[in-house]
């Protein structure tokens, strides 16, 4: 990543050289050679991001732990913890061990992590999924494939002591929650079904936003109560597995390193950009505001606050990272809309463009983001209070969650259609104007052709970036679906995709900030203008003094064309 710094300083030098005066943006005034150098540098830093993914392990790790079944002779007394070496254990697969034991006596004990290891704070967060193995016993009928489970779950933590050993288990949280489990019985053809397994779905149990302690202990009970109908439809349980998912420390380290490198870069570019804007005699244009806000949200996303989790217990990190990503995506989507709009709208009135003009366009983003935020607050926000809660367990919650998610999806669809429509209009405008080009003088034509080319180039870059993101995530789903038992592959595609795509958007926004910063270069003199064009051009070029919002000569070109 040191390379990035070098490239960055080269970039700054390039910009210092071209820091002389001119309306329009740097993109239009950069010579083809310099543009290609810049693009190469950006591509190289992009490549570096992909390469960083090579040393990283997969983003998340998994450990499957079989619950130890302990017998609690006094289920009423609750302030005690059962660990793996509890005094009396039973194996639910053997019936004769269970004589005289009631369901309420049984405690499923899971010590996390397994194999005498301990968690590291680099592992960030922890999610637990239950796998309950049910088997058929004659006389037990599956009444409803949706089995309602009542889980009495208690979580404790413990920490390493310096001279070896652990602190005693300390209560972390507890809850009685409900879950639904879908079970199917496959073997209808078999005569004697005794001992055949049911095919049951997984049961998400908890999600911890922070992994502050070294050890966690889950004590899970399945209380049975025929009056309250608790777990009455549950069939014979043979085993319970807990699959715990944690972030991998190696991935977190690589991720934070990426963030720590990008954060100062993006902040420096933002400062440079804002200085550039303020050097002008006009007030910043809407697109410039949008760019600086976009840079700001990216800087917020890049801010490596994960370092704090190494010292503080921050269970809200999951929620916070969702919000940070959400803000960034919302700004990026809004920027694309405004960017497209600013290159299309006819600016006859000379009015200052403001976001107000785009309220219709942006409202779809706003509605979508707000509904996602509410959903996230209901799910991950609730986890702050109760890690065992889930919005999906109650029918009302499921409907609510689905409403929010569908609403967000609809908004995304509307947004996308609208964006496509606008881009199509811009390209139509450009192609119309292209037909006018031959009637211009050669110098101007070359210049316009150049700017048009570069504008299309960046639009292309956006499409490519979005395309790569979508394709890589589809690829990611595919590769994860193909779980290979072959361990010989040393690279982890998932983490390469994550670091690569993350780096790509950073590079993309750095490029936007640099290329769309106002340029100080002067227009090349155009002595060979014919009179008619001169009139038009002077009319056009007189406008920027009155309407300082036109930051791009392409915008003015398109505007001029519209006037024609």
């Amino acid at each position: 990543m040191q390379q990035s710094f070098v490239y960055f300083s080269i970039l700054l030098c390039i910009f210092e050289i071209f820091k002389f005066k001119m309306p329009g943006t740097i993109l239009e005034n950069l010579s083809g050679r310099k543009l290609s150098v810049l693009v190469t540098v950006l591509l190289l830093s992009q490549l570096a991001c992909f390469l960083v993914g090579l040393i990283s392990p997969s983003p998340a790790g998994i450990q499957t732990i079989l619950a130890t079944v302990c017998v609690d002779p006094e289920p009423e007394v609750r302030d005690k913890w059962f660990s793996r070496n509890c005094p009396k254990k039973v194996d639910l697969r053997y019936d004769n061990a269970l004589e005289g034991i009631s369901p309420n006596n049984l405690v499923f004990v899971v010590e996390m992590p397994n194999f005498q290891q301990d968690f590291s704070r680099w592992q960030q967060n922890l999610a637990g999924v239950l796998q309950i193995e049910l088997v058929y016993r004659s006389g037990q009928k599956l009444l409803n494939p949706m089995i309602e489970l009542t889980l009495d779950a208690r979580l404790a933590y413990s920490n390493k002591v310096k001279n070896g050993g652990k602190t005693p288990w300390t209560h972390y949280t507890n809850a009685i929650t409900e879950r639904y489990m879908d079970c199917i019985f496959n073997d209808t053809a078999i005569e004697n079904k005794e001992g055949y397994p049911y095919d049951c779905s997984m049961v998400p149990l908890f999600e911890l936003g922070s992994l502050y302690h070294d050890y966690y202990l889950l004590n899970l009970r399945l209380p049975y109560d025929s009056q309250k109908e608790l777990n009455t439809h549950l069939l014979k349980v043979e085993e319970i597995f807990l699959h715990m998912i944690h972030m991998n420390g190696g991935f977190t380290k690589v991720w934070i390193s990426l963030k720590s490198i990008f954060f100062p870069i993006i902040v420096t570019i933002m400062i440079w950009f804002w200085n550039r804007v303020h050097l002008l005699s006009r007030t910043p244009a809407l697109l410039e505001y949008m760019l600086i806000v976009l840079g700001g949200t990216l800087a917020f996303l890049d801010l490596p606050i994960e370092y704090l989790t190494l010292h503080f217990d921050m269970p809200y990190m999951l929620l916070l990272s969702d919000i940070r990503q959400g803000i960034f995506y919302a700004t990026l989507l809004s920027f694309w809309l405004v960017f497209t709009g600013e290159h299309m709208l006819i600016q006859e009135t000379g009015e200052r463009n403001s976001l107000r003009k785009y309220w219709k366009h942006l409202s779809s983003i706003a509605v979508g983001c707000v509904s996602l935020l509410i959903f996230d607050l209901c799910e991950r926000g609730m986890h702050l209070v109760n890690p065992f809660s889930s919005i999906w367990v109650t029918p009302l919650g499921t409907n609510l969650a689905l409403t929010f998610v569908i609403c967000a999806g609809l908004c995304a669809g509307i947004y996308f259609l609208f964006l496509c429509y606008m881009i199509w209009r811009v390209f139509k405008n450009i192609s119309i104007k292209r037909s006018v080009l031959p009637s211009m003088t050669q110098a101007r034509r070359l210049h316009y052709e150049g700017t048009m080319y570069r504008f299309t180039f960046l639009m292309g870059a956006t499409v490519v970036c979005a395309g790569i993101t979508i394709v890589s995530f589809i690829l990611n789903q595919y590769t994860q679906g193909e779980h290979n038992l072959d361990d010989s592959m040393d690279i982890e595609l998932t983490s390469i995709i994550h670091t690569g795509v993350y780096g790509m958007w950073n590079v993309y926004i750095c490029a936007l900030l640099m290329l769309y910063a106002p340029s100080h270069k002067q227009w090349p003199s155009e002595p060979t203008c014919s009179e008619g064009e001169e009139v038009e051009f002077s009319r056009l070029s007189s406008e920027p003094s009155t309407t300082p919002n036109e930051i791009s000569s392409l915008t003015s070109f398109v505007a001029k064309a519209n006037i024609e």
């Binding site: 732990i65 194999f115 397994p197």
Partner: protein, 436 residues
Amino acid sequence: MKQIIINNFVIRTMCFVIIINHSGFFVDCAEANVGTDVTIVGVARNKNRGKGSMWWGIAKAGEPNNISPTQPGVLFMDASVHGTLRRKQRRLAKENTGLLEAVARGANLAINECQYQFRNQRWNCSTKNFSKGKNLFGKIVEKGCPETAFVYAITSAAVTHSVARACSEGSIETCYCEKHYRRPQVFSNANTGAVANVRDFEWGGCSDNIGFGVDVSREFVDTGERGKSLREKMNLHNNEAGRWHVQAQMRQECKCHGMSGSCTMKTCWMRLANFRVIGDLLKDRYDGATRVTAHSSAALKNNKAHSNRLPKNPKLAAIMTNSIHTKRENKRKHKYAFQLKTYNSEHKPPGMKDLVFYELSPGFCDKDPKLGIQGTYGRQCNDTSDGVDNCAIMCCGRGYKTQEVVVMERCNCIFHWCCEVKCDVCKIKKKIHTCV
């Protein structure tokens, strides 16, 4: 050496009331053990046959009475167990605390499953209460017949399954956690092995337990089978087939935990199938087992049929600190690279999931003390069934007697999710057919 074979076909019978024979009515009294058969068989040691299967004996060392999870390491100390193991197996057990308990549980799992799958067959997978390893299933395993193929496959599969389960239980501590990455030097600290293991967990998490199960099963179960005889190739092939089925029956489950719980971040894991499912599949393979024959030695060397087998995990050497493994690594690649030729050359060669045999089964109808077969005398059969438990088939045409008995059975049970709570005792009239 002498041994006693006790064969139990227990009918849960309270009292027989009337027994209806083909010839007429007569009254008989209750009999708990039908067909108890005690034979004394002299054992001739045959060094080449089934020498890798001595370890089966530990099934009886860790008797299923001892069902509560035992303290790891206890079994290792057991002298009677020690005797049945080969040197390499002893070393594996020493290096992996808790492994022997898992293997013992696996062996019992295999016996139970085998007896379940063959409950209606002429050969019913009976075991002898005798701890000298390979004769656990009787001398039938000295023949290269389909039953032997099944026994090898199911024991190997059960060890794989049981070791993988023991890993998730945490009772084997050497299950690997260093995953498939070499950590960059910057992050690794050159401390003791234990600390490095913990740091590896921090860096890249743990790998699937099934990988360890398969590797340990290969090391432990296949250890004796290194000759070039057809019998050893057959054993290796069937052991691999058993493991293949355990791996193939793993099902993937995933959880999305990306932004707002979306699938931008998805983690998947493999779920171990219930062993009954694997037993069913192996039984199917037994029914369609391929007969092979010894082939010309030229064809032995270069054959690619096994090249698509699940690749060997190179990390085994890393967890088992002994350097012998790394030396053997190259040898091991060749160990499984052989192709068996079908007896009938028109049949297609056996794939890695197929069971193979080279001798036809004995009839199992009549007593054969040489092979330790008790015959089907006194076996229960079903007069209406179309399958092999049909009385005509089961009794090999000797005929059968029919008894109508009243059986006390538990019925109308109320279950809670863990335990049977309350049952009525019902008297049920049953017709029982027994081979004469």
